[in-house]
């Protein structure tokens, strides 16, 4: 589902941490977020640098590459969710993924990132994921083997104003009332069983 180009989005005050070991990819990400209107960006070339930023600064969003030497994106998110200062522990994370090596599949699944964006991607896709993260209402699960957003599927219905694919799809948002409220006697009639003469 594409992001409606008319939706307004304000990232002026957002502080975004970008982490990629490749300087060119990091510069490209920096340019994209500048285009999105983000004024404060922290650029890090390694997981260790990013850990330092998280410990010393307040950030609102982390965008990190999955594959990096020493500490990869998955290890960083595991550290963030478990060992980072409480104020930063649940900072939303978008993971950028290239090739998923067989040995990394489980690690990726259990890392605790909010969303994974697979490469290649366009600025439009990245902005859409930023928007999704901002609207992400999933609770965080803190368990022995996993700390991160609840991964269980939940039927939230189609978003408000979007027609569902099935005829019985209903939005979770009921919207404003379209008829007068029931009065108390009508409600009582619905709740109280009445004796029926047959």
């Amino acid at each position: 589902m594409a992001l409606d180009p008319k939706i307004r989005i304000n990232l002026d005050r957002s502080r975004v941490l970008l982490v990629d070991d490749n300087p060119q990819a990091l510069e490209a990400l920096n340019s994209m977020f500048r285009g999105f209107g983000v004024r404060k960006q922290f650029k890090c070339g390694s997981g260790a640098e990013a850990m330092h930023v998280v410990k010393t600064q307040e950030v609102d969003l982390i965008v990190i590459d999955s594959s990096m030497p020493d500490m990869d994106g998955y290890d960083f998110v595991q550290w963030l969710r478990r060992e980072a200062p409480d104020v930063s522990k649940f900072t939303p994370v978008i993971m950028l993924a290239g090739h998923a090596a067989r040995s990394m599949v489980e690690k990726s699944r259990d890392s605790g990132a909010n969303f994974v964006v697979s490469k290649p991607f366009t600025p439009e896709i990245l902005l859409q994921r930023v928007f999704w993260v901002a609207k992400d209402e999933r609770q965080m699960v803190v368990a022995q083997g996993y700390v991160g957003p609840d991964r269980r599927f939940k039927n939230m219905g189609p978003p408000l104003g979007i027609k569902g694919r099935r005829k019985d799809d209903l939005s979770a948002n009921v919207g404003a009332a379209t008829a007068p409220n029931l009065d108390q006697s009508d409600i009582d009639m619905l709740m109280k069983p009445s004796k029926v003469q047959l």
Binding site: D20, G98, H99, P120, Q139
Partner: protein, 149 residues
């Protein structure tokens, strides 16, 4: 085993994006695309150098598979940010091939070489119609899929 705890989190980002001002998503995407375009030339040059390094590895046939995988992964990293879809697909096939080869502990430089040659061709024909180039990528995947994961 201890029970899982559920924590309701309110992101600062959620409040920030809804603040008055800002810009439309369409304008933000266009601006980002323009900013990105300024780096595209340098990125293409770097991709050319990296493919060159892979070509040397294929000629010498002495590099470790991990090194080939790392180089392929870096190409994917850069090409992916610049949305070079066809080159990314070819590179993904190379990474998958090398990953399978290292799982089986067997290097097949001929199949790696075919991938690298195709990547050089796709890189040099960056402006070609992606639909035409898709058949090249399909051919690469046919080679990769000959080896079980």
């Amino acid at each position: 085993m201890s029970e899982a705890e559920f924590v309701k989190v309110k992101y600062r980002l959620s409040e920030q994006v809804a603040q008055p001002g800002g810009m439309t998503a369409g304008l933000a995407s266009d601006r980002a695309q323009r900013e990105l375009a300024a780096h595209a030339g340098d990125a293409m040059k770097s991709l050319g150098h990296m493919i060159g390094r892979l070509e040397v590895m294929c000629r010498e046939k002495t590099a470790a598979l991990d090194t080939v995988y790392e180089e392929g992964s870096t190409i994917l990293d850069i090409a992916g940010v610049f949305n070079k879809r066809v080159l990314c697909d070819a590179c993904y096939s190379l990474c998958e091939l090398v990953d399978r080869q290292r799982t089986h502990n067997r290097a097949d430089w001929a199949s790696i070489g075919v991938h690298v040659n195709a990547m050089r061709m796709l890189w040099s024909k960056d402006d070609a119609d992606p639909a035409t180039m898709k058949s090249v990528v399909d051919g690469l995947w046919a080679i990769t899929d000959r080896l079980n994961p």
